[in-house]
């Protein structure tokens, strides 16, 4: 019998749940992995759930989210209609698709795909059994269990998720698309864990989508560890488009070895409460990380991006651009922390956060931090919040363009700085369309799916034609 967290998720309940289900939780663990799990449980006992008095959670109140009752599963939920999981893919984009339903890997054919070129992808639970040494080498090496309560919680409880392994020197022939779908008749609490390894000189494009299909509430606590080997390349996309009753805490940890290259994009188009914890650690010299974020929120939606870039090695470069448009009663938080350690000579770190508020009820907290312990560095940050450029508005209107159209053009242009960084053309096209829809107020959750995928081919109609000719 799977438990129901009736009134709220509390730390006490979770600790008790762990004690009562230790065997079930660690069923797929090797002794080493089981040790990591147990340590996380111990850490968990010393931590507490966030409240707004904590520095890192000052602007994001989880009280309401945690206070709802949720179903919690220690066994895979019933796969209702597997086809739906695969319906939300990006049109015309040839990808390898990995589906997760309610946090569990959906094994359509086999739980773990082993491709000819050595690439492994599939269920993490399965991989623990089949490739224990490989998993042990990476698992838990990037995540911060001891300080971050949701990461500790995830490590203690995770039972499945996605494992992707690209061996050294291998270039993944097509983008991999991870689709994480939530569909359940009741409120559901889920915790999944992903482990992505891009070996030395290897390359991967990864599109990671969080979607929900209905209006039912959910609380997701997802931890993803990503390892970039020497001179590896990862082009990573996180698409967040879940319903307004969902809470998503997504913690992603990048460990970047020397001369590796990371492009990571966070496109948050819909969600009740979204919290992205993004940590990039340079574990060797000459690494590069570009982190781009775009958030378009309205109603009472809440987005909180906490980004830490840890320059622990010399001669690395990082560039963060996070931009947001907040409408109605939406709230946005950007907290960026660039840490340049004592040994990190010749660091080049940039950090930009720009926001537009469309109403007097929207709110942004922007906190771009720099912490620098070396003089031979180039570091800068900037944060602007304000209206659309009034000069540009006047210019557009003077050419006969209506105020409404001008506003739309400028908002799209504002978002475009981030959208334009998307390297996969089909995906960029898709996101452009979604951004247009979102700005027009059309991207609301539909009966079936937030992505309107029942009509993917239907041309979008805009009064402003922002398509490229």
């Amino acid at each position: 019998m799977d438990p129901i967290l009736e009134n709220s998720i509390t730390l006490e309940r979770m600790l008790a749940l762990y004690e009562a289900n230790r065997q079930v939780l660690s069923a797929d663990d090797t002794p080493i992995l089981s040790g990591i799990r147990e340590n996380a449980f111990i850490s968990l006992g010393k931590l507490r759930f966030p409240d707004t008095k904590m520095e890192a959670w000052r602007h994001t109140d989880l009280k309401e989210s945690l206070g709802r009752g949720y179903d919690y599963y220690l066994h895979p939920t019933k796969e209702t209609d597997i086809q739906k999981v695969f319906r939300c893919n990006i049109p015309h984009l040839d990808t390898a698709i990995i589906g997760q339903l309610n946090g569990w890997y959906v094994s359509k054919d086999v739980p773990l795909m082993e491709l000819g070129n050595g690439i492994i992808m599939g269920s993490l639970a399965e991989a623990k059994k089949k490739y224990p040494a490989l998993i042990e080498k990476y698992y838990g090496q990037a995540a911060h269990d001891t300080e971050e309560v949701f990461t500790a919680l995830n490590t203690a409880f995770e039972q499945d998720g996605v494992f992707i392994y690209v061996p050294a020197g291998v270039k993944s022939p097509k983008p991999v698309q991870m689709i994480n779908v939530i569909q359940h008749p009741e409120n559901i609490f889920l915790q999944s864990r992903n482990l992505i390894v891009v070996g030395d000189d290897a390359q991967l494009s990864l599109v990671h989508c969080d979607d929900s299909y209905n209006h039912q509430g959910s609380f997701s606590n997802i931890v993803t560890e990503v390892f970039l080997g020497r001179n590896a390349y990862l082009d990573h996309y996180k698409l967040q488009n879940i319903n307004n009753n969902s809470t998503l805490i997504s913690s992603i940890y990048f460990k970047i070895e020397s001369a590796a290259n990371l492009e990571s994009h966070y496109l948050s188009l819909n969600g009740g409460l979204l919290r992205n914890n993004i940590r990039a650690l340079f574990n060797g010299p000459h690494g590069n990380a570009n982190l781009y974020g775009l958030y378009l929120m309205d109603r009472k939606q809440h987005i909180d991006n906490h980004v830490v870039v840890d320059h622990a090695s010399p001669e690395c470069t990082s560039n963060e651009i996070f931009k947001g448009i907040l409408d109605e009663n939406a709230r946005g938080v950007f907290n960026g922390h660039v840490l340049v350690r004592r040994n990190a000579a010749k660091t080049d770190a940039r950090q930009t956060n720009k926001n537009i508020l469309l109403t007097d009820n929207a709110r942004i907290n922007s906190e771009p931090f720099l912490e620098i312990y070396h003089d031979d560095v180039k570091c800068s940050h900037g944060s602007t919040t304000g209206q659309l450029d009034t000069e540009a508005m006047f210019y557009l209107r003077q050419r006969g363009i209506s105020e409404e159209s001008a506003r739309m053009l400028l908002m799209f242009a504002f978002a475009d700085e981030v959208v334009a960084k998307i390297a996969i053309p089909q995906l960029r096209q898709r996101i452009e369309d979604m951004v247009k829809k979102r700005l027009q107020g059309e991207l609301r959750i539909c009966e079936q799916c937030v992505l309107h995928c029942s009509t993917p081919e239907k041309p979008l109609e805009f009064r402003v034609d922002v398509s490229k000719i």
Binding site: A392, F394, R399, S402, A415, E417, D465, V466, K468, I469
Partner: protein
């Protein structure tokens, strides 16, 4: 009468800049407005175009018999008023093509015309680009972004050609142009002159008027037009300098 400005007073943040301007412009005419810096030339252009930061405190602007006060910026533009900016703003992320296509089609819609097809629009772009000798591919460039000073001004004239206004006000279009760019801009303007449109050219120097020959020259000084005459007035100004006007006013 295309434009009639009567005793126009305008202020910004409570400070009066225009202190009773009178001006009449007929179709087929080119008017030059000259004057020292800070006397209200750009303000006059902005007020005609409808920049909201300026407050009209007295007087009126009649354009084709309509009181402009009641019209929004874009409505004035759609009625055929074009402002060539002294400092065209850069708008990153908005492509020139997209920008012009939106403008052309919204104006066409206002006039009850069908939107231009993509290919007709592109043909029109190519044609008008030649007029001001723009050789670069504008499709992939954002509005004014990364344009040199000369390119920006050429772009203004290009847009004027695209939108075919009835009244074009060119605010110091000559400033910052080298002699070649000046010639190109002026040629563009001259090619667009027709009996059914009019130009108001605002300039600090006489130089531009060698290329765009005005029918009338007005001197704006301390918020008022203090002197009007033919094209020879510009030469006289060049000769005697603005101190002449200042001294006359004292």
């Amino acid at each position: 009468m295309l434009l009639r400005i009567k005793d126009l007073h305008a202020s910004i943040h409570g400070k009066e800049i225009l202190k009773g301007v009178n001006l009449e412009v007929n179709k087929g005419e080119v008017h030059a407005i000259m004057g020292p810096n800070g006397t209200g030339k750009s303000t006059l252009a902005s007020v005609i175009a409808g920049r909201e930061v300026f407050e009209v405190t007295a007087g009126e602007i009649l354009y084709q018999g309509k009181n402009l006060q009641k019209l929004a910026v874009e409505e004035r533009a759609r009625e055929g008023i074009f402002l060539g900016f002294q400092y065209p703003v850069e708008i990153p992320g908005v492509s020139m093509t997209n920008f012009m296509r939106t403008a052309v089609n919204e104006i066409r819609q206002y006039k009850g015309l069908d939107a231009l097809s993509g290919s007709d629009f592109m043909k029109m772009m190519e044609e008008k680009k030649k007029l001001v000798e723009i050789t670069s591919n504008l499709t992939n460039r954002s509005v004014n972004e990364g344009f040199s000073g000369g390119e920006k001004k050429k772009n203004e004239i290009f847009q004027m050609a695209m939108l075919e206004p009835t009244l074009a006000i060119l605010d110091e279009t000559d400033s910052g142009l080298d002699i070649d760019a000046l010639r190109i801009v002026a040629n563009g303007v001259n090619k667009l002159r027709r009996p059914d449109n009019a130009f108001v050219v605002i300039t600090h120097y006489q130089r531009l008027l060698d290329y765009i020959v005005p029918d009338f020259v007005h001197v704006l000084f301390e918020g008022k037009i203090v002197k009007s005459g033919g094209k020879e007035l510009a030469l006289e100004l060049e000769d005697k300098g603005y101190d002449w006007i200042k001294n006359e006013q004292l």
